[in-house]
Amino acid sequence: MSGEFIMHSQRWMTMLPLLAALCGGNAWAAGHDEGAAFSVRGFGTLGVARSSSDQAEFARDFSQPGGIKGGQWSGRIDSLLGVQANWRATPELELVGQLVSRYRYDESRVPQVEWAFAKWEPDARAALRAGRIGADFMMLADSRLVGYSSLTVRPSTDFFGPLFFSHFDGADVSLTWPLGGGLLRGKLFAGTTSEKTAMAGGIWDTSGVPVHGLVFDYLDGPWQWRASTASVKFSHDIEIARLLAIELRDFGATAAADALTIAGTTTRYHSLGVVYDAGPLQVQAMLNAIRHEAGYLNHSRAGYLLAGYRLGTVTPYAGVSWWKSSRKSLSTGLPDIPFAVLNQTFDFALSTSVADQTTYTLGARWDVRSNIALKLQWDAVRGSAASVLPFIRVQPGWNGRTDVISAVVDFIF
């Protein structure tokens, strides 16, 4: 047992009574009268996880600059705390602000403003939000940080890993209308990103660029269907690729240099999802396709299937997910003599955006109280040795396989 694990266990022991006190009420909704004009509440996750592989660090998503490896228990990737204030100024107007502290692109846990928006609901069928709002790129994407709201320890890395945006500054408008016995909801959003992300050992500035999208949900009894599309037009390059592009351009390899240029290119995220939620049974199935104009970034597809069945207060679940990129064939066009090193560097750069893996998940959620859940989960990542995109600091000898064990407590207050 590592020292870090002991440290985390001790921290847990001291945190649990605090948590119980914090989550004092028997039921979450008890302390929150929605008639009240002002409310403050929060959510959080305290957890440890270990990933068996020594050759690559497992992270939750692209926004994290480091992960876990070598069988060491760590609280790094999943632990977080969020606080949200809602102020209902008038029956139609509500102001919402949310601060979240989590492991971020710059390795700090400095709290950041996740949401800060005004929401106007002229009637029960329409809502307009403006300010900093959740990036609802894919089904369940804007509640990814709220562990308590989901069955699993973390959202599927294969499916949500490439989605490093959690919010943007702009507006969205949604309309709901009855259709064929169910409800159809359409949402249009547009704005500007305000987040940076960790990428290729550095920080990639993905802020200040336009984003927009369209979402359709159809809700019918226990079924919820979703189709969505979103696009982001980047304005900054990934530093390593930019430096390589300068060198390639110097030697006349213009096409290769252009392929490494991300500034000015658009990435599109398409997704389809369905959730079946009836009584104790919950099933989720989703597919996505991510298309990059930038030649250097491989297109990818991912999907997952997850099912859980509640038995009393314990819900065992099982899932399978996959993430596969389609390799673009690109070369510098330069002869190996004398450009062998440059050609190899270019090929290496292209190889860093390859994902080719399947993850099998088994776990259980135990609802200890109606605002605290304990979860234990095993993820078996089975990929090819080329699958390096989902991981951080991949070392020689990486075989695409790792087993991740996680134990977390999720709470709301």
Partner: protein, 141 residues
């Protein structure tokens, strides 16, 4: 205790089913709502769609804490326990979408709220539904 006659057994079954049908949803008589379907009540309580045919916005009322009536209501309506209902609302509240129901401390407070707000709805035992409110849905348990 052994049941002496099939008749007694049948009448006990009948009584049990009558008792189980006692959970009702009530609305303000001025709401313009005569009847709601289970789908309507689900949409209103889960915050999916709260537009009433009369043009009013429905204002569902929940009981505080783990009230037995609340446990029965959600089990009968959607087959969920309160932890699942809280998890559902955590998703919607923390993604800044729909508002959860108004919370009343007890049934009397819930009835008082419904009587005072034209769009309000609450769940109560049939015996508790008085002249201030109108029964618009009966839950089978």
């Amino acid at each position: 205790m052994a049941l002496r006659s099939p008749l007694l057994f049948l009448s006990l079954l009948l009584m049990a089913s009558l008792a189980a049908a006692e959970l009702v949803v009530v609305a303000n008589p001025r709401s313009g709502i005569e009847r709601l379907t289970q789908e309507d009540v689900t949409n209103i309580y889960l915050g999916r769609y709260r537009h009433l045919a009369s043009g009013l916005t429905a204002e569902p009322v929940d009981l505080a804490g783990d009230a037995a009536l609340k446990v029965r209501f959600y089990r009968a309506l959607v087959g969920k326990n309160l932890a699942e209902i809280n998890a559902y609302w955590a998703r919607l509240v923390f993604s800044g979408r729909t508002r959860p129901p108004h919370v009343a401390e007890n049934v009397e407070a819930a009835l008082h709220y419904v009587a005072a707000h034209p769009g309000a709805l609450a769940y109560v035992d049939r015996a508790q539904a008085d002249k201030r409110v109108r029964i618009v849905f009966e839950l089978g348990e």
